[in-house]
C-alpha cells in the first residue's frame, strides 16, 4: 500500500496526473524542483509538503503560502490528513489522496472503430436480400390494396400508391442512412429501406387481420386498445431496427430508446384524445366490414338478443341529449 496524490481537472474531476509517495516526503509547488509540479499561478513556488506526522501516517502541510490549503468544506487549514478520498484545493488546483490498493473499475468496452451495434446474419447483410425484402413487402402491400378495390382496372390507383410509398420510404430511409453515416460512418440505405418496407407490410397485414376481427366480433371493447398496442409495438420495432443500423448503441439502449419513443407517442395520443371534445356529427360510425366467411363458421346472435343492444344505444343517446350542445 502506498499513498497516491491525484491532481484533478478543475472542471471534470478527471485525474490529470498522479504521483506515488516513494520516500517519506513529497513536495508540491510551481517550481521545477518539486516532486509534484503544479502549473497554476495561484500556487507558490514551494507551496506544501507531505511528510510523516510521527504517528505512522502522513500529513499535507502548508509551507506558509499566500493562498494556503483549503478543504472540501471551504475552510483553510495549515495541515490536512492524507486519508484516501480527501480532496484539498491548492491555489486553483484540486488534489485528492488515494490508496494504491483501491481496485479500479472494470475497463469500459471500447466500441470505437466497431462498425455496428448489431450484427446482421450474413445473408441479410447483402444488398440483394435487403432489396428483396423491400420488393416483397411492396408486393404484399399492393396485393392487399388491390383486394380492397372493385373497379374493373385498379392499375392507376395502385401505381399511384406504389410511387407514393416508394417516395416516402426512400426519403425516410435516406434520413436514417445519413444519420447512420454521421454516427457509424456507414451509409446503409438498403437496410433502412428494407426495415421501413417490412414494417409497413406488417401494418397492412395487421389491417386485414383486424378487419376479420371486427367482422367476426363487432363492437368489441378490446379491439381499440389491441390495435393501439400493435401499432405501438410495430413503431418500437421499427425504431429499434433503424437504431441497430444507424448507431453504435447496445441492444439494451436501442430497445430503451424504442420504448421511450412509443411511450411518448402514447402519451401524446392520449393527451390529444383527452383534449379533443367529441364534435357533433350527423355521419354515423359503425363496424361495416363484411367478409366472405361461411355462416356456419360465424358466431351469430339470436334476434331477441338485439333488444338489449338497442336499449344500451337509447341510454347513450339520452345521455347525449341531456348535455347542452
Amino acid at each position: 500500500m502506498a499513498l497516491i496524490v491525484e491532481v484533478l481537472d478543475a472542471r471534470s474531476d478527471d485525474v490529470r496526473s498522479w504521483h506515488r509517495l516513494a520516500g517519506e516526503h513529497l513536495a508540491l509547488g510551481r517550481a521545477y524542483d518539486n516532486d509534484v509540479v503544479l502549473d497554476d499561478p495561484y500556487v507558490e513556488a514551494h507551496h506544501a509538503r507531505i511528510e510523516p506526522d510521527g504517528a505512522g501516517t502522513f500529513v499535507l502541510r502548508d509551507l506558509g503560502s499566500v493562498n494556503g490549503l483549503v478543504g472540501a468544506d471551504g475552510v483553510r487549514r495549515p495541515e490536512f490528513p492524507t486519508t484516501a478520498g480527501t480532496t484539498v484545493r491548492v491555489g486553483h488546483t484540486i488534489i485528492r489522496f488515494q490508496d494504491s490498493d483501491v481496485p479500479p473499475a472494470a475497463a469500459i468496452p471500447d466500441r470505437r472503430g466497431q462498425r455496428t451495434g448489431a450484427r446482421l446474419p450474413a445473408w441479410l447483410d447483402t444488398p440483394a436480400a435487403q432489396l428483396g425484402i423491400s420488393a416483397g413487402a411492396l408486393v404484399v402491400i399492393l396485393w392487399l390494396s388491390w383486394l380492397g378495390t372493385y373497379q374493373r382496372s385498379a392499375t392507376g390507383d395502385l401505381t399511384d400508391l406504389a410511387l407514393g410509398l416508394m417516395f416516402a420510404l426512400i426519403l425516410w430511409a435516406g434520413i436514417w442512412s445519413v444519420a447512420g453515416r454521421v454516427v457509424t460512418h456507414r451509409f446503409r440505405f438498403l437496410g433502412h429501406l428494407a426495415i421501413a418496407f417490412a414494417a409497413l407490410a406488417v401494418l397492412a397485414i395487421w389491417g386485414t387481420v383486424s378487419e376479420w376481427f371486427a367482422f367476426v366480433a363487432p363492437d368489441t371493447a378490446l379491439a381499440k386498445p389491441l390495435g393501439i398496442a400493435v401499432v405501438l409495438l410495430l413503431i418500437g420495432v421499427l425504431v429499434a431496427g433503424h437504431l441497430a443500423l444507424a448507431s453504435a448503441m447496445t441492444r439494451r439502449r436501442r430497445w430503451t430508446a424504442a420504448w421511450i419513443t412509443c411511450l411518448i407517442l402514447l402519451a401524446l395520443g392520449t393527451a390529444a384524445s383527452l383534449a379533443e371534445r367529441k364534435p357533433f356529427s350527423d355521419v354515423p360510425q359503425f363496424a361495416a366490414t363484411l367478409k366472405p366467411l361461411p355462416t356456419s363458421l360465424l358466431p351469430t346472435h339470436r334476434l331477441a338478443s338485439f333488444s338489449a343492444v338497442e336499449r344500451d344505444l337509447q341510454r347513450q343517446v339520452d345521455a347525449l341529449a341531456r348535455k347542452t350542445p
Binding site: L147, P284, P325
Partner: protein
Amino acid sequence: MDVRRVVGLAASAIVATALPLAAQQGGVATPSVFRRFANRVIRIQVSEAGSGAKAVVGSGIFVDDAGHLLTNFHVVADVVQHPDRYHIAFGDGHTPGDSATILAIDVIHDLAVLQAPTGPRPHFTLAAARVHQGDRLYSLGYPEDLGLAIVEGTYNGLLKHTLYPKLHFTGSLNPGMSGGPTITEDGRVVGINVSTAGNQLSFLVPVSDAIALVARATASGYRPPARMLDDVARQMMTYQDVYLGRLFTDSTKTVDLGPYRVPTEPAAFFRCWGDAPDEGNRPYVRTVHRCSTDDEVYLASDESSGVVELTHELLTSTSLSVARFYALYTATFARDNTPSGNEDEVTSWRCATRNLTNGTMALRTVLCLRAYRKLAGLYDGVIKVAALGTRRAGLVSTLTLSGASFANIQRLTSRFLREFQWR
C-alpha cells in the same frame, strides 16, 4: 321527390327564372278574383328580435273578426323553436304592421293559428269545399316578398302517397306564398299553400285540416301551451304512433332480389320503385329497390321528420374475385345514407353492430340511433342490414325511421329483420 316548402327567406337570392306560361295566361276571371279577394291576404313577417332583420316572409288569412290569423306552421317555426329570438308581425304588404303571437299549431299538417288584435277585418270564412279534378283555382300570396301575387292553376285531386291527404295543385307556388289561400272563383278556400316540387307541381293543405285547427284554437277553454315545443313533441308522438303502427303489418309484401326475398311496401301509402342503373364499365351490377312516401313533417328550417324510407341494394358480380367483391360489399354497406341533422335539434349518432340470425339468414345488423334534443321521447333510427353467407352476391338494406319513439324503432327493427329470407 324533392319538395320545398314555399317559405320565403329574405337572405335567399331571388332566382330569376321565366315564369311558366300558365301562370301568365290569366283567365278572364283572374283580375276579378284578385280585385275581390286581394285585401284578405295578409303578409306575415318573422323577424330576428335583436336586429329586427326579417328572417322569413310568408302569407296568411284571417278567418274571423276575433284576430285569428291562419298560416303554415313552417312560416312561424323559428318562433316556435326560439320564442325569445324571433317575433311575428303581419300587415297588408305595405307597412310592417301589428305583431301577433302563436295560438295553436298543427305540426303534422303544417298549420298554425296566430292571435292578432281583435277587430273587424276582411277575412275568409272557412267551410268544407267540394272541388273536382280540373277545377280552376287561384292561389294568392307574397312570392319572394315581391308583393301580393295571384297564380292560376288547376286542382288535380289528392296525393296518394301520404298517410294524410294533401291536395295536388298544378300551378306555380313560390317561396313566400306559404300560408296563403288557394280559392275558387267565388272565394271559397280550398286549401292552404304549403309546398312545391317545382314545375307547377304544388301542394295544398286541405281546408278541412285548417277548419279543425281553427275549431280547436277558438274552442272555449283553450289555452295555448306555455311551451309550444312541448305541443310539437306531443303531436309528433301521437302522429308517429299512428303512422308507424301501419308499417309492416301481417300482410307485409315481399320482393325477390337475386337470391333474397325481402320486405317491401311497408304500407299501402308507400311508393316503391326499382332500378339497376347503368354505372358504366363496372365489374358488378347494382340493383336498387326503394320505397318512400311524400309524408314529411317540417320542424325547423334544417330539420324535417316523420320520414320513413326503405332501400334494398342488391350487388352481384361474376368477374370480381370473392375478396374484391367483399370490398365492394363493405363499401356499399359503409356508405352513409342517414338523414342529415343539426346539433341544436339532434344528438350525434350512436351505432351498434351485431351478426344476427333470424332463423333462416345470417344478417350483419347495424342500428344507429340519435335523440331529438327538444322533443323528448323522439328518435331517429336507421337499421342497416347486410345478408351474409354468399360469395358473389350481396344485399344491403336500410330502413330509415325519423321522428319515432324508441318502442316503435325496436318493434319495427325486429319486424323488419324477421322478414329476410332466402328465395
